[in-house]
Symmetry: D3
Subunit: 317 residues, 6 copies
C-alpha cells in the first residue's frame, strides 16, 4: 500500500491531529512527492465574488476539520479509494482578499501547475467564482462538459451596473470564453425566486440543459442523473457542486440558501450517480462557516467530496 493513506481513527482518534483533507498527507506544490499524486485535494479560500453574505473563504479550513470524520471505505460499495489512487492534500491557493482579478490570476496559476503535474484537482471552495479560474486552467485543450448541482444557474451577465465577475456569473463567462461546451452542460436543482429570466434565456439560447427542482423532485435522483450522464457524454467533464443545491435544513452554512431543495440522502445519491462520467476535476463550493459554526454543513460537504472522489476513482480504475 502506498504512503498516501489517511490516518486511521483506530490509531489516532478522529478529533486529534492537524486536520488535512480526509487525514491525507500534506503535499505542497514544491514537495518532492508531488509527482506521485494522482488526485489533489485543494482549498480555494476566497469569496471575493460574493454579492450577498460572505464567508466561503473560511470553507476549506472547516471542511478539512469536518473531513477527519471520513473513514477509508465507502459504506455502500466497499470501495477504498485511497488504496486505488494516490490522493493528497495540496494545501490552499493564496488569494488576495482585496483584489478580485489578482485572485483569479493566482488561482488560475495554481491550477495550471496542478494540471501540469498530471494531478486531477478536487477543490473545496470558496465561492462559485473560484470555478472560473479552475476551468481556465483545465480547459486548455478545448471546452469541457459540466454537471452542475446548484440552486442557481450562475449564468447572469452582470451585477451592480456592469460588474461582470461575481459568483452569479462564472458560467456565463466560461461559455463566452469557450471553456464549457454548453451542449454538454447540465444544471440540476435550480430554484428560488429570480431577478428575471435572463439567465435561463441564455441557457436556452446556447443549449445548456437546466433541470429545475420541481422536475428533480418529480423524477428522483436516479432518473435525473441518467440524463445528466447522457448530456455529459464520454468527453472530459467537470463537476461543480454548490452546497446550496441541498436544502438549507441540511446545509445552513451558505450565503444564498434557497428553501425546497434535496435532502442529504438525495444529495449523496446525485454524487453517486456520477460514476461512469469522465471527470477531469470537481469542486464543492459555497460552504460558509460563519453561517454554520456547528460544522454540519462542512461535514456534508466533506461527505460529498468523498462521494465525488469515489466516482473519480471508479472512473480511473
Amino acid at each position: 500500500m502506498s504512503d498516501f493513506q489517511p490516518v486511521s481513527g483506530f490509531v489516532l482518534p478522529r478529533f486529534a491531529g492537524i486536520p488535512t483533507f480526509m487525514r491525507l498527507p500534506h503535499v505542497p506544490l514544491d514537495d518532492p512527492r508531488l509527482p506521485q499524486v494522482q488526485v489533489g485535494l485543494i482549498g480555494a479560500p476566497w469569496d471575493g465574488g460574493t454579492t450577498n453574505r460572505p464567508g466561503p473563504r473560511h470553507g476549506p479550513r472547516q471542511i478539512r476539520d469536518a473531513s477527519t470524520m471520513i473513514r477509508a471505505q465507502h459504506g455502500v460499495t466497499g470501495l477504498r479509494p485511497f488504496e486505488t489512487m494516490h490522493c493528497a492534500d495540496l494545501g490552499d491557493v493564496a488569494p488576495n482578499p482585496a483584489d478580485l482579478q489578482d485572485s483569479l490570476s493566482r488561482m488560475q496559476d495554481f491550477y495550471a501547475r496542478v494540471t501540469a503535474a498530471g494531478i486531477l484537482p478536487l477543490t473545496a471552495g470558496g465561492d462559485h467564482l473560484c470555478t472560473l479560474p479552475i476551468l481556465r486552467a483545465l480547459a486548455k485543450d478545448g471546452p469541457l462538459g459540466m454537471i452542475h448541482f446548484d440552486s442557481h444557474t450562475d449564468l447572469y451577465h452582470s451585477y451592480f451596473n456592469g460588474q461582470m465577475y461575481t459568483h452569479g456569473t462564472p458560467f456565463r463567462r466560461a461559455v463566452e470564453e469557450g471553456l464549457l461546451d454548453p451542449k454538454r452542460v447540465c444544471m440540476i436543482g435550480i430554484r428560488g425566486t429570480a431577478y428575471d429570466s435572463e439567465d435561463r434565456d441564455f441557457a436556452d439560447s446556447v443549449g445548456i440543459r437546466v433541470i429545475p427542482i420541481e422536475d428533480f423532485h418529480a423524477r428522483g435522483p436516479a432518473d435525473v442523473m441518467a440524463e445528466a450522464r447522457a448530456i455529459a457524454g464520454t468527453g472530459d467533464t467537470y463537476v461543480s457542486y454548490d452546497i446550496d443545491f441541498v436544502d438549507p435544513a441540511f446545509a445552513p452554512g451558505t450565503g444564498t440558501p434557497e428553501v425546497g431543495g434535496p435532502n442529504s440522502f438525495q444529495a449523496l445519491e446525485c454524487a453517486r450517480g456520477l460514476r461512469g462520467v469522465k471527470i477531469v476535476g470537481a469542486d464543492l463550493v459555497e460552504v460558509s462557516p460563519p453561517f454554520d459554526p456547528s460544522g454540519a454543513t462542512a461535514y456534508l460537504g466533506a461527505s460529498l467530496m468523498f462521494e465525488m472522489l469515489c466516482a473519480i476513482v471508479s472512473a480511473h480504475s
Copy 2:
C-alpha cells in the same frame, strides 16, 4: 410600472438598506399613497396568547430582514407579483405586551382600517391568537372559509382553569363568534401528542375537516390541497399558516414544535396549491426568532409569504 416595486439586488445588495417586507415601500396607514395599495404586508408583533415558549413578538422584524432575500419573480411560474398588484409594507400594529384584551382590540382596529381602505392583508405574526382579531375585522359580512396549515388545531376551549384566549383557542372562538363557517374550514398537518381529544371532538361536531399528518404524508401535498380547495369552495377564504406546520428541522424557530412534519419543498407545494382559492387575507404566524437566531425559519416564512402572495395575485388578476 407602478411605484410599488421592490428594490432590486442588482442595484442595492440584498444585505443593504432598511428592511421592509420584500424590499417594498413603507406605506403607513396615514400615508397619502395608502389608497393605491392593493395588498398590504403587515407585522403583528405580539405573542401575549402564548402558553408555552414566547418570542413571536419578534417575528415581524426578523421576517422583514430575511425577506430581503426574496427576488421579484417566481421561480416556477415566472409570475412577477409586484408588477400585477400594488403591494406595500404597512408597518406594524402597536400591541400592548402586558394586556391581552387591549392588544386584541388594537389589532382589530388596525385591520378594520386596512379593510376599509380596500386592502387585502398579508400578515406576519405574532402568535396564532393574532388571527382572531384579524378575522373579526375581515368577517364583517359573514363567516369565512379557512385553509389552515398547522401541527395543532388551536380549537381548545380553554387553558389554565378557564383562560379562553390563548394561541391554542383562536379558532374555537372564531367559530363561536360566527367568523368562520366550519363546513368551509380545512386543517392540514395536525400531529404530535395531545392533552386529550376535546379539540378534535369539537372539530367533528361542527364539521371542520382535519387532515392529520399521517394522511398528509400518505397522500401528498397535491391531493391534500385539491381537497382543501374543494372544502373552501368559491367563497371568501382566509389562509392561516402556522410555521410549526413544517418540520422543526426546517423551522426550528417556533414555540411549540412537533416533530414529523413536512419538509420545505412540501411546505411550498402546499402554498402553491392555494391558487384558485378566493383569498381575502392570509397570515404566517408563530415564527419565534429567539429560538432561531440564524433567521432560517424567518427566511422560510418569507418564502411562504411570497408563495401566498403569488396565490393572491393569481386569483385577482
Copy 3:
C-alpha cells in the same frame, strides 16, 4: 386513575416545574412507591465509551427538560399510556466518569435492582456502551432478541490497539457474552464511511441481519419494520435506538453523525412499527447536548421515547 400521572400543561405550563421524564413522579429506587411502578424511565448519564466527540453524559437532563413538551395522549392512536401502566422517573444511575469498568458495574447493579423490582426499563443515555450493562442485567434468563436503530453496527472488535469496551463495540461483546441471540437481532439504518468491513463480516458470520440505509430508503419504514418484527419473533426483545439513526439535520446533537438518514417522520414510524414486539427494555442513546444546545435533538429523542413507551404499553395491555 393511579397517582402515576404526568402534570398537565393545562395546570402547570410546560416550561414550569422541576423537569422529570414526561412530567412523571420521581420514584428513586428506595422510594416506597417503587413496587407499584411498571415502567421505569431511567437516565444513564455516562459517555466514557465515546471514541469521538463526547457529551451524551448530559443527555438525560436535556431529554428530561425537552420531555416536558410531551402530552398525555398519542396523537394518532389516542392511546393514553400513563393511564394504562404505572410509569415513573427512577432518576439517574450514578456513574464514575473517570473509570470505565466501575461505571459498567454501577450500571449493571442499578438495572439488576430495577429488574428485580419487576420494572421494565426505558433508558435515556448516555453513549451506546451503556446498553451493554443493561443487557447484562436483563438477559439473566437467556439471550434476547434486539431491534437496533443506528447508523453504525457497533459490532467492532476493538479500538486503539486493543480497547475492547467503547461505544463501537457493545453488541460484539453482547453476542460474545451470550446476552443477544444474533439470529434474532436486526440492525436498521447502517450507513456512512467505514474503517473496514470487519463489523459487517462479524454480523454475517453470526447471523445478525443488517439493513443498510439504501435498502431502508428503497423499501420504506413499514416494510422494514415488518421484517424486523419477524426477526425478533415472539421472544423477549430489547430495543436500542441510537439517535444518530436519524439524519443529522433532524438530530444534530450527537457525536458521530452520518448524513443521509431518515427524517423525523420516518424515525417515528419506525418506533410505531415496534407494536406487537415483546419488549423487555428499550433505550434512546447518544443524544449529546453540547452539540445541540437548542434541545431539538433531545426533543426528538423524548418523542421517540414516548413512541417506544406506547409500543411497550400496547404490548402489555
Copy 4:
C-alpha cells in the same frame, strides 16, 4: 446533619440527576417535611409583565440546571449554609401565562402560604413584576426596606397608554401600596438611556436613594454596600437582584440589557455586602434563557443566589 443536604458531586457527578435548586431536596407545599424548612428556594416562571424581549418564564428551570454546579461550601468564608439552616426547593408557582392579574394573584397566594409556614423565600424569576406579589405576601406587617440591584429603577408610572402593571413599574406600585418604606430603599447600578426622568423624579420625591452606575464605578462595591446597609437599617429588608444589574458581557441572557455595568466579581461582592442585613426574602430575576442558551447567565444567577443565601444564613445564625 439534617436531611436537607445537597447531593455531593463526589457521589453523583454534577451533570447527573434531576436538577433541583443547588441539588437540594424537593419539598412541595403539601410535603410533610415543609414545617422543617427554613429557607425555601422557589421558581416564579412568569414574564407576563415584560414590555420588551420575553423569556424569564424559562429562568427557574435553567437556573436549577446551572445551580447543580454549586458546591456546599462558600469559597471565601468557608460557610456551609446547608448545615446551618434547612433549605429546600419548594418547586414553582403555577402562573397563568395569558392573564396578568390572575398570575399576580396566584403568586401572592403561593408566597402567603410560604410565609405562613415560617419559610424565608429565595426566588428565581421570572420578570421583575414577580417581585410585586412577593412583597404583597411578605409586607403584611408593615412596609419593608429594600436593597435593589438593577440597571433600571422599575419606578415608572405606566406604559402603553395606561398599563400600570409591567416589569417597569413594580416598585412604583409597591410604594403606593405601602409595601416598601421608600426611605429604607436603595437602588444600585442604575444606568442606560432613559425615556425621561419621571422615574427618578418619583424616587427623589419619596426619598428612595438611587446610586447610578457612574457613582458605583467611582466608589466601588464595598463603599456602596456600606451605604446600602445603612439605608436598610435594622428593619426587615427585602433584596431584589435583577441580573441586568451585571454587565451584559457577563449576563447576556436578559431582556433589557444595559452596557457599562459591573463585572461578575463586583456582582458577587455586592451580594457579599448584604451580610448583616435583616433579610426577610430575596430574589434573582430577569434571567432569560432564550437569550443565553449556554446557561452562563443562569450560572451567574445561581452563584448570586448562593451568595444571597449565605448572607441570609449569616444573619440568622
Copy 5:
C-alpha cells in the same frame, strides 16, 4: 418639538416597527425633508477591504435593529439630543461588493452629497476602509484632526504583495492624501501581536500619537481622553471608533479581535470624553454580525453611537 423624534417605547414597543437608526425618521437623499436634517445617521454596508474574517457589510442592519433599544434621553447628563438637533436615518450607501475601487467612489459620492447638504454624518460601518472615502468627502477644505479608537493603527503600507487599499491601510492613505493632519491625530487602545513595527514607525515619523493599551489601562479613560482632546485641539476633527477597540468579551462580533481591551464602561467613558471636541463626522465600524448573531456587539455599537451623537450635539448647542 420637531418632527425628527424617535418613536417612543411607551407607544410602540421597542421590538416592533421597521428598524431605523434609533427609531428616527428615514430621510433618503432625495427626500424633501433633507435640508432640515442636521445629523445624518448613515449605513455603509461594505467590507471589501477586509483581509481577514468578513461580515461588516451586515453591520448597519444589525446596528439599526439593536438601536431600537436606545431611548431618548442620556442617562447621566439628561441630554435629549433629538430635541436639540434634527437627526435622521439617511439610509445606506449602495456599494459594489465585487469591486473595491467602485465602492470607494460610490461612498465618496454619497458623503459628498451629505456634506453638501450641510449634514454632519454619523456612520455605521462597514469595515475600516469605509472611513477613507468619508474623509475624502469631508476634508475638502484641508486636513482634519482625528481621534481614533482601535486595537490596530490601520497604518500599514500594503498587504499581499502590493495591495494598498485594505482595512489595514486607510489612515496611511489618508495621511498621504492630505486628508488628516498627523499632528492632530491620536490613536487609542492599540494592542495585540504585530506583523512588524512598520505601522508604528510611520506613526512616529509623521507625528501621530499612539496610546497603546498598556498605557490606557494604567492611566484610565479620563486622563487619556484629556490628552486626546488636547491633540485634536480646536480644529475640525473626525472620530473613528472601531468596535475592536473594546475587549472581545464585550464585542465578540468583529473580524480581527484582540484580547486585553477596555470593558464596556470604559468604552462609554471614552466616547463621553469627546465632549468639547469639534466633531465634523464620526463612525462606528467593524461590527460583524455573523460573528455575533446575538446582537450584543451591535447593541454596544449603537450605545456608542448614541454617546458620540450626544458629544456632537453638546458641541453644537
Copy 6:
C-alpha cells in the same frame, strides 16, 4: 533567519492554510528536522480525567485554528520569538479515549521523547490531568517548582469513592510522586464554591502557596506575580495555565467555570509576569470547544500561549 518561521498573513491570509500552532512548520517526532527544534508546541487531545463537562479533547485543534490569528511580533515588547528560538508544531499525542491509564502512559512516553530531544514543551490541552504525565516526563532529575493559574487547586485526594486520577487531583499526585516541590509551588486565582477544605488543608500542610481571587483582585497582577516569581525562585519551574483561571465572560469554553475571575488584560499581565522564571515546560489546558464554538476562548488561549512562549524565549536568550 531559520526555517522555523510562521507563515505571514501578508503572504497567505490568516484564514487560509492548514492550521498548525501559530502557523509554524509541522515537525512530527520522526521528522529529520526534530533535532533543530528548541520549543515544541504540542497538542494533548484528551479529557478522560474530566469529572464534569467534557470537551477539552477538542482543544488542540480549535486552538491551532485560532492561533493562526497570532502574528510574529509581541505588541508591547517588540520581541519576535520565532527569530530567537526554533519553534515548531510537534503534532498531537495519540490518546486512548476509553482508557485513562493507557492515556497517561502514552502521554508520558511522548513527552519523554520530546525531552530526550532537548525540546522544551509548550502544550495545549486537554484537561488538567494531562499535566501529570508531562510532569512525570519532565521531573526526572528532581521535583520542579510550579506557577499555576486556575480557579481550582486540583489538589483533591479522590472522587467517586476512591477515583484517584481525575482533573481535580493531578497536583496531589504530583506532590505525592515527588514531581513537584510544594514549597516552590504557587497557585493563583482560586475561587468558587468548594466541596470542603480538604484541598486547601493539604496545600497548607505541604507548603503550597494558594492566592485566592480576593487577594488577586485586591493586590493586582503585578504584585501577585512578583510573589509567584519569588516562590518559584531560580530553579526549574513548570507553568500550568488552566483557562478557567480567567472569568467565564472572557473564556466561556471550559468545563468547570467559576465566576468572578480576572479579565483578559489581567490574564495577559499574569503571563507577562512570568519573564525571568526558569521555565522548563508550560501548558494551557481545559479549553473546551463544544462550550464555545465561536473560538473566542481558544483565541484567548492561543494569545496566552504566545505570551508564555515570549516568557520562555526571554529567559533563554
